[in-house]
């Protein structure tokens, strides 16, 4: 309000001045177009054109305008004189008092009055007790969970024996393609022996986190064994496969850091990325060109990113698609753009490479080039828990900063001792790996000419992934169809196969499909059976 008044005051001063000036000048300037038009009409009198006609019109208009201005000036003069009349003869300190002085003094007064008043603020009225109570009464929360829909209900068959290559469901022997028992170590005699002796010595649980007497000698032995197996400096053991990733990533990536991640990573990694609060950029699933352009963009667009920690997060064998990450390319890009690599080897540890040492061996990349390697032990090793391996500083740092390590009870000792034995078994029995690779090749051969579905995984990956050739457009519909297929495979052919599962928390948008987890324990007839069965079901359900 006050500001407006001041503005008005100054604009008033300015205006009175301007009007006078404009009025004085305009009488002259209006004459000039007149002259100019005369010029034109004289010089170009030989050619009477539309041009001169327009000029004549403008002359006419200009004449009208000068008349108007004259009238306005006369009016203004009259008003000025009328207002000045009462004080025409007043001279104060040698200054003639003109009419505008009165207006200015009046405005000045108003300003002073306004200044002396308190500025207007709408009264703050906090909610009264009663209103708060009413609001609380009125508030209706949503139910804790949305209503259960039909697809959430299902009748699950339950395994009645170990989840080996063959298992029992409803008293029937079925072939199991649902367990990531890649080397067929479930039920291995040596593992059972080591577990039994550990159970007798240590009991089941460790009853404490690693920091507080939950470190048992087998944990340390297991860490040493993994380090030796992978020839890395140090290893840290986690008590659960899923927690490995979501603890390791937030440990090294904090707010402001940059993470470039594959869009197909599994939920454990997604959660880790979210918890880290870093800037996350996804690149196209297993697409190195997309990765390159993403890295390029980050490094050129933002000069500050040179001082930030930068990571590439990838999975060795993608749980969601069965693709194998091209590590050699990733390492090249990482070195070019100076990123660090965090690699999840959950489905490749013990599986890929000549001797099962994982993706680095598979691509012939020295393991030191990968900064952080994590893996769950619930797959090829047929035990549970997870580990992270890398240089001593990285591991040491996690021992006090990693939430899933510091604040969780440690791995049950019998599972750690099973892991040690499993690695020994892998080392001593290279034929297991050969058998598994042979089985993968067999299954590929068997499924090559499947109709309605296509093989979307890498030919060397132990996860054989069949995706629908024609998607219905809705993931839910697709999933229902796939589940129906898996269901019939169990009922009709005694085959345990799994379709993709989607939690609404999972942000991965890769196509869904049927996942077959190949094991060294599968016989040739098992593989023939599964490929025949799937081919039949696919042609019946999808075509």
């Amino acid at each position: 309000m006050f500001g407006l008044l001041v503005l008005f005051f100054f604009s008033y001063r300015f205006l009175t001045f301007k009007i006078l000036v404009v009025v004085k000048f305009e009488s002259q300037s209006f004459a000039s177009p007149l002259l100019w038009a005369n010029d034109i009409s004289c010089s170009k009198s030989t050619r009477i054109s539309s041009n001169s006609l327009a000029a004549l019109c403008s002359i006419h208009r200009a004449k009208m305008d000068t008349n108007l201005v004259e009238m306005f000036r006369a009016g203004l003069n009259w008003v000025t004189m009328a207002l000045d009349a009462p004080s025409a003869r007043v001279v104060l300190f040698g200054v003639r008092i003109q009419w505008h002085i009165f207006v200015e003094v009046l405005l000045g007064f108003v300003i002073v009055i306004l200044l002396s008043q308190k500025s207007y603020k709408p009264p703050k009225r906090p909610l009264t007790e009663q209103e708060i109570d009413e609001l609380c009464d009125e508030w209706v929360p949503e139910p804790l969970i949305p209503p259960i829909t039909e697809d959430m209900m299902h009748e699950p068959p339950v395994l009645e024996s170990a989840a080996g290559p063959h298992t029992t469901v409803n008293g029937k022997d079925v072939v199991n393609f649902a367990s990531a028992n890649y080397l067929g170590l479930i039920g291995h005699q040596k593992l059972l022996e080591s577990c039994t002796s550990a159970l007798e010595k240590y009991g089941v649980g460790s009853c404490g986190p690693r920091g507080f007497y939950g470190t048992i000698d087998v944990h340390l032995d297991c860490e040493t064994r993994i380090s030796k197996f992978l020839s890395t400096p140090d290893t840290i053991l986690y008590s659960y496969g899923l927690s490995t990733m979501f603890s390791t990533i937030p440990c090294f990536c904090k707010k402001g850091d940059i993470i470039v991640a594959d869009e197909g990573v599994h939920w454990g990694i997604q959660n880790g990325l979210q918890l880290s609060r870093s800037t996350i950029v996804y690149f196209k699933h297993n697409d190195m060109d997309s990765l390159r352009s993403t890295l390029e963009k980050i490094m050129t667009k933002n000069k500050r990113s040179k001082n930030l920690r930068r990571y590439i997060v990838a999975e060795a064998v993608y749980q969601n698609s069965g693709q194998i990450a091209p590590l050699d390319e990733i390492v090249k890009l990482k070195e070019k753009y100076k990123f660090r690599v965090i690699l999840d080897e959950s489905n490749s540890f013990g599986v890929l490479g000549r001797s099962g040492r994982g993706l680095a061996e598979h691509h012939g990349v020295p393991i030191e080039k990968i900064d952080v390697v994590t893996a769950a032990m619930g797959h090829a090793l047929a035990t549970e828990g997870g580990f992270c391996t890398g240089n001593a500083r990285i591991i040491d740092y996690q021992r006090l900063s990693s939430s899933g390590y510091v604040f969780s009870a440690s791995l049950p000792p019998y599972l750690a001792s099973a892991a040690i034995t499993a690695i020994d078994v892998i080392d001593q029995n290279p034929e297991l790996l050969v058998k598994m690779k042979h089985n993968i090749a067999l299954l590929w051969k068997g499924l090559k000419d499947i109709k309605g579905m296509s093989l979307a995984s890498d030919p060397e990956s132990p996860i054989v992934f069949l995706k629908l050739e024609k998607s219905s457009g809705s993931t839910k519909e697709d999933l229902l169809l796939l589940e129906k297929m898996a269901d019939r495979a169990l009922k009709e052919d005694s085959l345990l196969v799994v379709s993709s599962k989607k939690s609404f928390l999972d942000k991965c948008r890769l196509p869904v499909g049927i996942k077959l987890l190949v094991s060294a324990g599968h016989s040739e007839s098992d593989l023939v059976k599964v490929s025949e069965s799937l081919k039949r079901l696919a042609s019946e359900l999808l075509l």
Partner: protein, 511 residues
């Protein structure tokens, strides 16, 4: 609330200041050395954060030997603590083959199921032989019959998920747990930490509000952060403050838009593991009921350890389990196994089984561990045909209350409530952390000392966990050792009760 004596606070601050100053000094000299040698980062930013790394290098490494002490036996009442030595001023510790037998006051072995048990272990080994150690796959499907009995009428058209990681043991376990905690259904995951951090995001998301106790466990904090919901904190174990926060938040609604909250979940723990305090559940439940907030109770430490039949804080304080919407707990403590559970209504569990990532994507709990839990619950409920369970429960209560009373008499500042088997003794000063721990270990008592980051910087403490497997002699020995160590380190911040009488006796003698 913990009130630090003024002088102690000053000396604690001074100690940290000194440590910090020396650490900085060492860092600067290191910087000069590094500057002389070549820089090995080659354009990468340093991977470890400077301030956290500083804490590890300059403070934690000095007292590293008090933590991560390896043992070579089951975490029973007595453990073999492996001796370690260091050649580089505690920077790295090397194992020796020697070990000392120590009294274990550190493990969460509340009911003594941590070691070989005559009932449980044979059954565990049996299930190992039948099911092997792992299923190598996620649970994916659900635990069946209970949910089905409710919903079978509409299953006709539904299709089924296929199993891979659920064995009959898992199904039995979920049924057993639901019955034990007194809820219609339960879901079991393979890790306690992951239970919290993977299930909270399923229950609540953007537009929801989580009101969390200020001293809640990291797993809850992780889960809450991962959920995307707004998080507000109320003063530790103060129902009045909870009510104030609830009122304020409901009246205000969501920040900026002021839309009403979609739902509010109040997260509390049964026993706070670093405080030993028992949650004021009846008051909290009534506040939540009044304001229509859902209650999420984490019974990681209380399930199995307190209550007449070991059913946790609800039983101890007489709260109807129907009033607690989500009951969470772990099996790592009282049951001597691993994993965690969520118990709740049938619909809730059904929903979680369909959406919880820990259920869909993670390896299911190891079958022998599941069997251990079932057997332990059977022992607790007396279904094994003996009264060992009842004895264990009576024992832990007696042991805890005796030990707490004795410690208080000696003049230690002991936190926590009666009946709680967790009792922290305040140390405050950073120098007293290793001193107390090493003194006790020298006398063959293994205690846990806790400092930053598990506690606030100033409130370092020693924590004692009492087990049902401790005998009275064990406890008396422990008290003697702790008293001696307490005198040496000067942590008896209160005047000792019985000592006064002794002094008086002495005076009488002198007279």
């Amino acid at each position: 609330m913990i009130t630090i004596p003024y002088l102690t606070a000053v000396s604690t601050y001074f100690s940290y200041g000194l440590l910090f100053a020396f650490g900085q000094l060492r860092d600067y000299s290191r910087l000069i050395f590094d500057w002389c040698s070549t820089n090995n980062l080659h354009g990468y930013a340093p991977i470890c954060l400077a301030h956290e790394d500083f804490y590890i290098r300059r403070l934690y490494h000095r007292i590293q030997d008090c933590f991560n002490r390896p043992i070579s036996s089951a975490p029973d009442s007595w453990v073999d603590v492996i001796e370690r030595y260091s050649n580089d001023n505690n920077k790295t510790l090397k194992r020796t083959t020697k070990s000392t037998r120590c009294l274990n006051l550190g493990s969460y072995n509340y009911l003594g199921f941590g070691s070989f048990d005559e009932y449980c272990t044979p059954r565990v080994i049996e299930s190992l032989k039948k099911f092997s150690a792992s299923t190598c796959s996620s649970r994916v499907d659900a635990g069946q019959d209970r949910t089905i009995s409710l919903l079978c009428f509409c299953i006709l058209t539904s299709v089924s998920f296929l199993p891979s990681g659920t064995t009959s043991v898992h199904a039995e376990l979920e049924e057993c747990v639901a019955k034990y905690v007194g809820k219609p259904a339960a879901i079991v995951t393979g890790m306690g930490f992951a239970t919290n951090s993977a299930i909270i995001p399923v229950l609540i998301g953007k537009g929801g509000l989580i009101i969390s106790d200020s001293l809640n466990h990291t797993s809850i904090v992780n889960g809450a952060r991962g959920s995307g919901a707004t998080i507000r904190v109320f003063q530790h174990n103060t129902p009045a403050h909870l009510e104030r926060v609830l009122k304020e938040q409901i009246a205000e609604g969501q920040p900026r838009t002021h839309r009403p909250w979609k739902k509010i979940i109040v997260v509390v723990e049964g026993i706070y593991s670093m405080e030993g305090e028992i949650c004021q559940l009846p008051e909290i439940v009534s506040v939540c009921k009044k304001y229509k907030a859902y209650v999420y109770l984490d019974e990681a430490h209380s399930i199995g350890a307190i209550g007449k039949t070991g059913r946790g804080v609800c039983e101890l304080l007489g709260v109807d389990t129907a009033d607690v919407d989500i009951m969470m707990g772990t099996f790592t403590k009282s049951f001597g196994s691993c994993g965690g559970y969520i118990a709740g209504s049938k619909e809730l569990i059904q929903y979680l089984k369909y959406h919880c990532p820990a259920h869909l994507y993670a390896t299911s709990i190891s079958t022998p561990s599941a069997q251990q839990i079932i057997s332990a619950i059977k022992v607790i409920l007396g279904e094994d045909g003996s009264n060992r369970g009842a004895q264990k429960l009576a024992r832990i209560r007696e042991n805890s209350n005796f030990f707490r009373a004795e410690l208080q008499k000696m003049g230690f500042e002991v936190l926590g409530d009666n009946d709680s088997p967790v009792m922290p003794i305040m140390l405050y000063n950073p120098a007293k952390i290793p001193a107390f721990s090493r003194e006790c270990l020298r006398e063959n008592v293994a205690v846990v000392v806790v400092g930053f980051p598990a506690t606030p910087l100033l409130l370092a403490r020693a924590r004692i966990c009492i087990s049902a497997s401790h005998s009275r002699e064990d406890l008396i020995k422990a008290l003697k050792v702790i008293s001696k160590a307490g005198d040496l380190t000067g942590i008896k911040y209160f005047p000792a009760a019985p000592k006064k009488q002794e002094e008086e006796k002495d005076r009488i003698k002198l007279d």
